[in-house]
C-alpha cells in the first residue's frame, strides 16, 4: 500500500440561504459538486469514489438519503460511502475522502456534505422526535458560562466575535447572514436565547452544500490552479458525557489538535499557523477552541479576540469566511471549514482572502463537543 500525498484541488459551495426551495436535495448537492468540479477542471468521469456526509437523518426526515443520491452525486458504478459524526461530519467526510487518496486506493475522490434544514426542524430532530428539546444552544450554554467563569473573560468578547464574523461574512459571496454594519450595541441589545448567548451570537439555520475534490500528486499536476496540500489530518472522539469529563476543553479536541500539529511539524501553532477556520456556532466557542486546541494558553483565548488578533487583518485570523456563526447548514459546516482553509492556502478566497497564507488550520466539532475533525493545509506538498 503506497502512502500518497493528498491535496484539495477543487472547492464548491452553494449559496447558503434560509430556504433553498428552488432546488431538490439532489439539486442542492449537485450545485456544490458542479462548482467543485469546475474549480478542479474535472468532470464526474474523473472521479473514482464519492464520500458523502450529513448530520442526523431526522433533520430532514429523509432516511438514508445516500440510497437515492447515487445518480446526482455521480456515483453510479463507483464506491459511494456515507459518513456520520454529527455536526463535525463535514470535516470527517473530507478526511475520509482524503484517507482514500493517501492510502492509494483511489486517485481522485469527491467529498460532499450538506443540510437542507428548511425541510425539517433541527431542534426537533436533536430532541429525538419530541417537542420541547433544549437544542444545541441550550446544551452548550452552561459550558460557555463555565468558560467565562474560569477565564474571567468580559461579556463583550462574545459580542466582538459576533460582529467580526458577520462583517467577514459580508465579504463572502456564499455566506448566509451578511451584516456589514453590525455593531457591538446591536449584539448586546439582541434577545438572550440561552445565557450567555444572545440572538446575534447564535448561528442561523441554513440550506446548503459543500464539495471538495481530493487528489494525489499526479492529479494535482494536471490542474492549472494551486492546490492545498494536507500536512496533517485527524479525527478524534470521546464519550459525550462521563464523570470527570471537561466539556469546556474536551480531551478529544486536545488530542486531535496535537495529532495534526505533530503530523505537520508544528511546535507553536499560534505563530506557525497563518489563519484558521474553526467551528464556532456560538460566539464564545472562538476563544474556547483557541484554548481547547492549545493555540492560546489557559485564559488567553479571549485576549486574542480582545486585541483583534483574530480579525481578518489580525495576526491569527479566525473565520474570515464569516464562519458557522454566519452560515450553518449543519452537515456542510465542517467541510466548509476545510474548503475555506483550502481557498485561503490557494489564494482564491477573494474579498476575504488573508494575505500570504502558507499554513491554514481547519477544524470541525460535533455532538456534545465529543467529535473532532481537524486538518492542516499548506501551499506545498509534504516532504
Amino acid at each position: 500500500m503506497s502512502n500518497q500525498k493528498c491535496a484539495i484541488i477543487g472547492v464548491g459551495q452553494t449559496n447558503f440561504k434560509k430556504r433553498r426551495d428552488d432546488v431538490s436535495m439532489a439539486g442542492l448537492l449537485r450545485e456544490a459538486i458542479d462548482r467543485a468540479l469546475a474549480d478542479a477542471e474535472l468532470t464526474l468521469k474523473d472521479i473514482d469514489a464519492v464520500v458523502i456526509g450529513k448530520a442526523p437523518d431526522a433533520f430532514e426526515g429523509v432516511v438514508t438519503p445516500e440510497i437515492y443520491l447515487a445518480d446526482a452525486v455521480g456515483a453510479t458504478n463507483k464506491p459511494l460511502l456515507r459518513v456520520h459524526t454529527a455536526g463535525s461530519v463535514g470535516g470527517s467526510t473530507c478526511i475520509v475522502g482524503a484517507h482514500h487518496v493517501i492510502a492509494g486506493i483511489h486517485d481522485t475522490v469527491l467529498a460532499v456534505s450538506w443540510e437542507k434544514q428548511s425541510e425539517g426542524n433541527a431542534q426537533w430532530g436533536l430532541a429525538g422526535g419530541r417537542s420541547g428539546g433544549i437544542g444545541a444552544g441550550g446544551a452548550f450554554a452552561p459550558w460557555m458560562r463555565a468558560y467565562i467563569h474560569q477565564s474571567g473573560a468580559p461579556e463583550y468578547i462574545g459580542w466582538m466575535v459576533a460582529v467580526k464574523d458577520r462583517r467577514n461574512a459580508a465579504k463572502n459571496p456564499y455566506a448566509h447572514l451578511k451584516m456589514p454594519d453590525i455593531t457591538l450595541e446591536q449584539v448586546k441589545e439582541s434577545p438572550m436565547l440561552w445565557d450567555p448567548i444572545r440572538f446575534q451570537e447564535s448561528c442561523p439555520s441554513s440550506d446548503g452544500a459543500c464539495a471538495v475534490i481530493l487528489t494525489n500528486e499526479d492529479g494535482a499536476r494536471r490542474s492549472s490552479k494551486p492546490a492545498a496540500w494536507f500536512h496533517g489530518l485527524s479525527v478524534k472522539s470521546e464519550l459525550s458525557n462521563f464523570p470527570g469529563r471537561n466539556p469546556v476543553k474536551p480531551q478529544a479536541g486536545v488530542e486531535c489538535a496535537h495529532d495534526v500539529y505533530r503530523q505537520a511539524g508544528i511546535n507553536d501553532p499560534r505563530s506557525e499557523i497563518d489563519m484558521a477556520e474553526l467551528y464556532v456556532p456560538f460566539s464564545w466557542y472562538e476563544p474556547m477552541w483557541l484554548e481547547g486546541h492549545d493555540i492560546a494558553g489557559p485564559g488567553e483565548g479571549w485576549k486574542m479576540v480582545d486585541t483583534g488578533e483574530t480579525d481578518l487583518g489580525g495576526t491569527f485570523p479566525v473565520n474570515p469566511s464569516g464562519g458557522v456563526l454566519s452560515t450553518n447548514a449543519i452537515g456542510a459546516s465542517g467541510m466548509v471549514r476545510f474548503a475555506e482553509a483550502a481557498l485561503q492556502v490557494r489564494g482564491l478566497a477573494g474579498e476575504h482572502q488573508v494575505p500570504d497564507v502558507r499554513t491554514a488550520l481547519a477544524q470541525a466539532y460535533g455532538g456534545a463537543a465529543n467529535y473532532f475533525a481537524m486538518g492542516v493545509l499548506r501551499t506545498t506538498p509534504p516532504e
Partner: protein
C-alpha cells in the same frame, strides 16, 4: 400507560423535474424526461441514472394510454393498499415512454389481466399533487 404525541414537521422541495411530474398529475397529465441515451424515462429523473448528467427541465408528455408489461394480483387488499377491492400491482409503460412505472390496475378480476394489455389512467377527482393522484390504471 404513557401516551406520546409524535410530530413530523417535514416539508419537501422537489426541484424542477419531480416537481413538474407531480404538478402534471394534478392536471391529469403524465410526463417523462429524455435520458442521456435518448430513452424517455417515466417517472422522470433529475439526473441520468447511468452517467449522472443533469437531464434539464424539458418534460416529455407521455400517455395518456399505457401497456402492462408485468403484473401481480392482490386478491385480499389490506387497509393500506391503494384500492379496497381485488386489484393488480403492475408495471405500466405509458405510451411514448421507454420505462414502465409501478401502479395499481383496477381490472375487477384476475381473468381480465394479461401482459401486453392496454390501459388508461384514472385520476382522483380531487388531486393533491401526489403520486396517488394517479388512482389506478383501467383496462381500455
Amino acid at each position: 400507560m404513557t401516551e406520546t404525541k409524535l410530530e413530523f414537521p417535514y416539508s419537501r422541495t422537489l426541484g424542477p423535474v419531480v416537481g413538474a411530474f407531480l404538478a402534471g398529475l394534478r392536471e391529469g397529465k403524465l410526463y417523462g424526461i429524455r435520458g442521456a441515451d435518448g430513452r424517455v424515462l417515466t417517472p422522470p429523473l433529475e439526473y441520468d441514472p447511468e452517467t449522472g448528467e443533469s437531464l434539464g427541465t424539458d418534460m416529455v408528455p407521455v400517455g395518456p394510454g399505457g401497456t402492462v408489461v408485468a403484473w401481480t394480483w392482490v386478491e385480499h387488499p389490506a387497509p393500506k393498499h391503494p384500492l379496497s377491492r381485488p386489484f393488480s400491482f403492475a408495471l405500466v409503460k405509458p405510451d411514448g415512454a421507454d420505462t414502465p412505472m409501478v401502479a395499481p390496475v383496477d381490472a375487477g378480476s384476475i381473468e381480465k389481466m394479461s401482459t401486453g394489455m392496454k390501459v388508461r389512467p384514472r385520476f382522483k377527482p380531487e388531486p393533491h399533487g401526489l403520486i396517488t393522484d394517479l388512482e389506478a390504471w383501467e383496462p381500455v
